[in-house]
């Protein structure tokens, strides 16, 4: 089977303008992955499936990974001009001098959601080839193209990633929640997910139930108000 680098070269030759990066893996499993840009994802997927030598016809596993915003502290050397009193000079006489100081600068690397595809070949009996795609951010741009039109096996698995991670797959034929119920609001597999205080809370049109629900909300409000 081709190495990851060779597969990358083959993709670049077949899909001009595609963004493909090889991501290293330090673990003894040495399963390196290919990070592909969302723009050419479908074309790349079709090439991987239909190429005679690769023939990656079996999409085994699809899953999401949540990477939170990372605060990175860097030590930077900064040179700037400082006014210093002249040695042996008159009091008040200063001269400008260069001074180098180390400064700690913090910046936030934005988090992203990632989707991972494990591909195998039934025809050639090789694999895995690991594909990854990343969203622009974790909030309003959590969109990626769906690979379900290329491999049907992604149908339920992408629905699951949408359900638990909140990645919206464009072009998915039937994108609905799969494991959680339709009215559920949050995405339970995200790293910053907080469980609701009561899963059973569910306002319904029935008066009796509504009344009970109100009592419950009042109770929660009182608990939150306590210092």
């Amino acid at each position: 089977m081709k190495t990851v680098e060779e597969i990358r070269a083959a993709i670049l030759a077949a899909v001009p303008g595609a963004a493909v990066t090889v991501l290293p893996n330090a673990s003894p499993s040495a399963q390196q992955s290919l990070l592909i840009g969302a723009e050419h994802a479908t074309a790349i997927a079709k090439f991987l499936r239909d190429d005679e030598e690769l023939a990656l016809d079996f999409l085994s596993n699809v899953t999401g990974v949540d990477w939170l915003d990372k605060e990175i502290a860097e030590k930077v050397k900064v040179t700037r001009q400082v006014a210093k009193p002249v040695e042996g000079g008159e009091p008040g006489q200063v001269q400008m001098m260069d001074e180098t100081v180390e400064e700690t600068r913090k910046h936030v690397e934005p988090g992203y959601l990632e989707v991972v595809y494990h591909l195998f070949s039934v025809a050639k009996k090789h694999g895995p080839v690991v594909l990854r795609m990343r969203t622009a951010n974790r909030t309003d741009k959590a969109e990626l193209p769906s690979l379900t039109p290329v491999w049907r096996s992604a149908e339920f698995q992408e629905r699951e990633v949408f359900d638990l991670f909140g990645i919206v797959f464009k072009g998915h034929p039937d994108l609905r929640r799969i494991l959680m119920w339709d009215e559920f609001k949050d995405f339970p597999m995200r790293r910053d997910y907080v469980e609701p205080d009561d899963f059973e809370y569910e306002p319904t049109p029935h008066d009796e139930v509504l009344k009970r629900a109100q009592a419950h909300r009042a109770h929660v409000g009182a608990a939150e108000a306590k210092p």
Binding site: N25, A26, S27, P28, S29, Q31, S33, D57, F58, L59, S60, N61, T63, V65, V116, H118, V122, K125, P128, V130, T148, P149, V150, W151, R152, S153, A154, E155, F156, Q157, E160, L164, G171, H172, P173, D174, R177, I178, L179, M180, W181, P188, M189
Partner: protein, 406 residues
Amino acid sequence: MSSSSTHVDKSGYLDNVTARLARSEKLDGWNRPPVIETDGEGELLELAMGPHHPSTHGVFRMDLALDGERVIRLKPVFGYLHRNHEQLAQNQTYLASMPYTDRLDYICSLTNNWAYALAVEKLAGQAVPERAEYLRVILAELTRIQNHASTIGFLLQEMGASGTPLMYAFREREKILDLFESLTGSRMMCNYMRFGGCRVDASDAWLNGARKVVAGLPQFIDEFENFLMSNEILMARCQGVGVLKPELAVNAGISGPMLRASGVNYDIRKVDHYGIYDRFKFRVPLGDHGDIFDRYMIRMLEMRESISILEQALKQLPGGPVMDPKAKIRNFRPKAGEAYGRIEAPKGELGFYLISDGSPNPYRYRVRPPSLINLTVLEDMCLGSNVADVVLIFGSVDIVLGEVDR
């Protein structure tokens, strides 16, 4: 079907067809599910089959749209048993998830253990001693036999063969479960494998017991085949029903006996040679038509091959430790990285995908559930057939809801 001449669409069927057409247009070429058209006469019935239907093997629902007896739409509904297994595993150490893997496919806890141990061993570069590898093979093949036996038993039960075949299958299954209990302490929640070996060694008495059980198994299969193989009802209900084409099976990620029943030669034991499967001689049975009957037969034949593997393994079993002495139990922290490990579980390809960030818990823990993914084509197989056949087609997929919903 009612004979009224004007079409009354109370069920929202036309909306469903439009939605389904729109959905299937998004799929690539031939991997679209067929759209079954009706004559537009009479009313269509929407039927929720489950979640408490006895044929669904647990809490699972199929929303059917029926034209008389014919199925024209089928939507599986999951999640009744969802407990976010993956999130649970990410909040505890690697070893602490081992007992939870038993609860995925609770019929085959030992293969779940093995798949998880294999993925972690890949992640950490952990070696496994030879005797432990043999014990794993022995237990996995015993698991396969008891899973296939009970699947066939349930399938026949659903076909109307009330009680008897299922009890015959369960009689053999019980012998195997007794072996599991005497070795691991539990019939079904075995929690037996560890990263770098197995928890306890098998005694000579246990091995002799296993040899005895294995020696009795061919007779059970012969008996089963004699009684049922040429049964007219079985053939009439199974042959040509629920056909799955090999191209769609591969494209939809179907694995295990279901894939091989469609004639695709793909057995992970032969492809990956994980563990020590390259040391055993066994054949991979393949189907020809991809119907229920082939799926039934494949399981019968696979049981025979498993018996052959068991005989070889019990003969070759070497001495030695069952745990790698260098294996780290306390403070187990794999280096940052990721690994995907998979095995040929009785139901299909069971995989575990792990990402480590160097901490004692996995950063990401994912189960690739064969039961869920094998249901992708349920609608394609059922469209156009009768409701009674849906029960059989569903039974021939062989799922466990503990694994589908996780």
